[in-house]
């Protein structure tokens, strides 16, 4: 109390009010000195560790009871009846309250902002979840409606018939090709070979038909697309090789003249 009052004496009070307050301070200080000297006479007591808790709790209880009685009998008293003093004190109090409320306001505002941001984020997440759920539902529906056809077996049968058809078609094409080649691109006559043999000791080589050459090329290209080259050997009749190369149906290997491949028409 003494400290509190002394702060207000710095303001521009009329002299009388100041005197009044100082007298009040002096009075209270004297009271304190009396109390203190009484306390000094009581003497000191230390606490034994063994029953410290009980002793201290009893002491606390006694002190609290006395405190309580004091508060009961006490009436709120005015610090002073001087209006200037009261005005200054009132101003200080209101200033403090204002500061406290301002801090509280800023804290609450920042908290609100955080909560709003959280709310926005949660809402976004919720929307995304809803959309995901809808998409999943749609997919589920589609899958369900598909399952309604007694489909699998029928599809399999359809595929099998398709494959059969394609195979027969392929066979027909190959036979037609073979027939065409035999008619228009036959192998040269044997007799010529024998004649050649008698004149120059060239070995007899079994020539293979153009159809066979083409088959080899096609099979190599289809079976091993990374290695579509075949080696030209003596069973290939050279004019037919030239024919294939000139028509653009076959290509030589860029580095090795003894190898060739079929042109990739299917790509």
């Amino acid at each position: 109390m003494a400290e509190y009052l002394s702060e207000t004496t710095n303001k521009a009070d009329p002299v009388a009010a100041k005197e009044e307050l100082l007298e009040e301070c002096e009075r209270i200080w004297k009271q304190m000195e009396e109390c203190q000297s009484k306390l000094m006479l009581l003497g000191a007591e230390t606490v034994a560790p063994s029953d410290a808790k009980l002793y201290l709790l009893m002491l606390q209880w006694k002190a609290l009871t006395v405190d309580f009685n004091q508060w009961q009998t006490r009436n709120p008293e005015l610090i002073s009846t001087n209006p200037d003093v009261l005005l200054e004190l009132g101003k200080e109090e209101l200033q403090k309250v204002k500061n406290d409320l301002e801090t509280m306001l800023s804290t609450v505002q920042s908290k609100n902002k955080h909560l709003e941001e959280d709310l926005k984020r949660e809402q976004q997440w919720y929307e995304e979840q809803k959309q995901m759920l809808e998409t999943l539902n749609k997919i589920e529906e589609e899958v369900n409606t598909q399952d309604e056809h007694p489909s699998t077996k029928r599809e399999l049968n359809e595929l099998e018939t398709k494959v059969l058809k394609l195979k027969t078609f392929r066979k027909e094409l190959l036979t037609a090709l073979g027939g065409f080649l035999d008619e228009y691109f036959p192998l040269p006559e044997r007799s010529e070979n024998i004649k050649k043999k008698n004149s120059s000791a060239e070995p007899v080589v079994e020539l293979i038909t153009l159809q066979e050459i083409l088959e080899m090329l096609i099979n190599t290209l289809m079976a091993t697309p990374h290695e579509p080259y075949i080696t030209i050997n003596e069973s290939f009749w050279p004019p037919y090789i030239e024919l294939l190369l000139r028509c653009g149906m076959a290509l030589r290997h860029p580095e090795d003249p003894n190898r060739m491949r079929l042109q990739a028409f299917h790509k």
Partner: protein, 177 residues
């Protein structure tokens, strides 16, 4: 003066005095500096002691002690013993809210050599609040300093209507019987 008494001197104007008792000088110094850096509107004077009783030669220079903080380092059994010995030199009326125990070094669980149980029992036996902190970390150190400054204000009587005793009754742990 062998026994420390709470009201053996008249108070100093607009100030509070804190007594830090603990065997570790570096920790005391650290805490004292952090406390003095706190923003406040009254004077704080801090007295440091390894143990009680305080040397009687300087008795007349010492102001009235408002709050005693016993610092126990959880890494050393010696600090606990020293504090227990010092407690015998404190007047019983100090324990009505003007004593506080501060346990430091709680950040490193591996280095505990005192049981937490023993420390908590001490706090309960002397009916005084127990604060835990790790002085190495700046955040907890500053927070502890703030708490101590607030307690000091109450113990020095700067807050009208709140006495040290009523405050300490409010600080009871919830699981206290």
């Amino acid at each position: 003066m062998a026994v420390l008494r709470p009201f053996d001197k008249l108070p100093t104007l607009n100030s509070g005095t804190l007594l830090l008792v603990g065997p570790d000088e570096a920790l005391r110094q650290q805490l004292a500096e952090t406390i003095l850096q706190e923003k406040r509107d009254f004077n704080i004077s801090i007295h440091l002691a390894t143990s009680l009783p305080l040397p009687s030669e300087r008795d007349h220079l010492r102001p009235r002690i408002d709050l005693i903080v016993f610092m126990i380092d959880i890494k050393s059994k010696y600090s606990l013993k020293k504090v227990e010995c010092s407690l015998a030199h404190v007047d019983a009326s100090f324990f009505l809210g003007k004593v506080c125990f501060l346990v430091t070094g709680v950040g490193k669980v591996n280095a505990c050599s005192i049981e937490m149980n023993a420390v908590c029992k001490l706090g309960e036996a002397y009916c005084s609040p127990m604060l835990f902190c790790e002085l190495e970390l700046e955040d907890t150190r500053v927070a502890t300093a703030q708490r101590l400054v607030r307690m000091l204000r109450i113990c020095a009587g700067h807050i009208p209507g709140v006495s040290a005793l009523s405050f300490v009754s409010l600080m009871r742990k919830s699981d206290d019987n």
